[in-house]
Amino acid sequence: MNTDRWDVERIRKDFPILNQEVHGRPLVYLDNAATTQKPHAVIEALERYYATDNANVHRGVHLLSERATQAYEGTRSRIRRFLNAAEDREIVFVRGTTEAINLVAQTYGRRMVGPGDEILITALEHHSNIVPWQMLCEEKGAALRVAPIDDAGEVDVEAYERLLGPRTRLVAIAHCSNALGTVLPIDRMIEAAHRQGVPVLVDGAQAMAHVPVDVQALGCDFYAFSGHKVYGPTGIGALYGKAALLESMPPFQGGGDMIKAVTFEKTVYNDLPYKFEAGTPNIAGAIGLGAALEYLDGLGRDRAAAYEHDLLAYGTERLSAIPGVRLIGTAREKASVLSFVVEGAHAHDVGTILDREGIAVRTGHHCAMPVMTRFGLAATTRASVALYNTREELDALCAGLGKVREIFG
């Protein structure tokens, strides 16, 4: 694919926030793994909804409610197509990946996991794919098992396969590591789990904007993601679940919209997916997320991934050439993330100096403290690219690291 035809200057104009100076320097936004910026299409969808369609969904007989419901459910269909799920009812709106994982832990997990059972994760997981399982294990007397990673930040798949045992009730793995950028071989990992009859939840928060996803081809049982990491608003995301599994699960929260009939003696729960959507949802957020996915589809997800892959390779080469800079996470398959340490300078100081150069990066443990511990580090600096970043911005990052050496050299 010819990535030269990726007209990044035109694409940058779609993101109004990028056109500004911070500390007197042009903004270089390289904190996309924390959250991505929003195109006009998303901002306008939010404004249009509130200015013309605002009403509650699934209840009103009036026109505004009909329009709001149509837009909200239209996003559900778009997410279904984006993930290539089989049916709209397999898409449950949630606040984000964290809520999606907690939903599965508190419904499927509480029903299926008992004393002595095991849940298997990897050493690369974000805290949101560790803590909900720890809480469940503590409640049920179950054990959390962790598949190790090697020095490159790749999962030891053979060790993972050995950890899949007769007591494993669920596998929960990231599609892409937020701290190191590793893309996990989830197709092989899902296949291995399924051979043992173990269902698999995939945390897609970091992958969604950068790696094509096809839940039917993958065969995963659950796939969770957040809208704000894929150019959509905060506070909205979705959980994909296979219909048969979702049907078998008890509800998550009780309230309006998740019921068919309520008496003081008994409540009949609603059908999928509404059984899991208690209360008035984030309607505007969902509509904004729909606009984000439409935007990304319009540019072409494969083309965006190819462009980012090229940027990542360029950034890897440039950073590797700087004396005193060491990349953390050198997996063969990576997306978006350049995590590194600078000799003699703490990540926090690196972040402050880069900020004064207009460059936004993340510093710290990236909500993945076990990953940091694995590498014997307290913190790294993380630059993460998105489809609107440029080679010139990565050059600016390298120049900024020159300033770090000037001060700390």
Binding site: A345, H346, H348, D349, G364, A378, F408
Partner: protein, 149 residues
């Protein structure tokens, strides 16, 4: 770079490179742990209090240049002072960084006033104050680790 030069003054960089009193005490009479969960900085402060005097004070841990320099300069400035003087310095240091209209920072002992530049970097104030929170916990004999949150 003006702001950065204010923040990373030579004396601060020097304390970062060669932290003073960066060791364990043989027989501490009080100690505390401090932790900043946002950035993972950890520090332990040990004291040897005799009567009313801080006969010795030392620290250990890992952190950014600001937290390390702050800890190093704190120990250098307070060794040999009374517990009352240390308590007053803790309050003056906090005021220098977080009060809306801080009093003259030159009242602080040692070279501590050079850390005033941290005011211009609000996100980094917790880095500078972590050693001081930890010292206060040690003086108050609190066993629980303190955190910046």
């Amino acid at each position: 770079m003006a702001g950065l030069r204010e923040l990373y003054q030579e004396v601060i960089l020097d304390h970062n490179r060669k932290p003073r009193n960066f060791r364990r005490l043989g027989a501490p009479t009080a100690a505390a742990e401090g932790y900043n969960p946002l950035c993972g900085d950890r520090i332990s402060v040990e004291l040897e209090v005799e009567g009313d005097t801080l006969r010795d004070i030392a620290f250990q841990g890992s952190g950014c240049a600001i937290s390390k320099a702050s800890a190093s300069m704190m120990t250098a400035a307070l060794k040999g002072k009374t517990v009352g003087e240390a308590a007053a310095a803790i309050e003056q240091f906090r005021a220098m960084l977080t009060d809306e209209r801080p009093a003259d920072a030159s009242a602080l002992p040692g070279r501590l006033a050079v850390l005033e530049g941290v005011r211009e970097f609000p996100i980094r104030i917790k880095c500078a104050t972590l050693p001081w929170h930890t010292l206060r916990a040690a003086l108050q004999g609190r066993g629980e680790p303190v955190t910046t949150e």
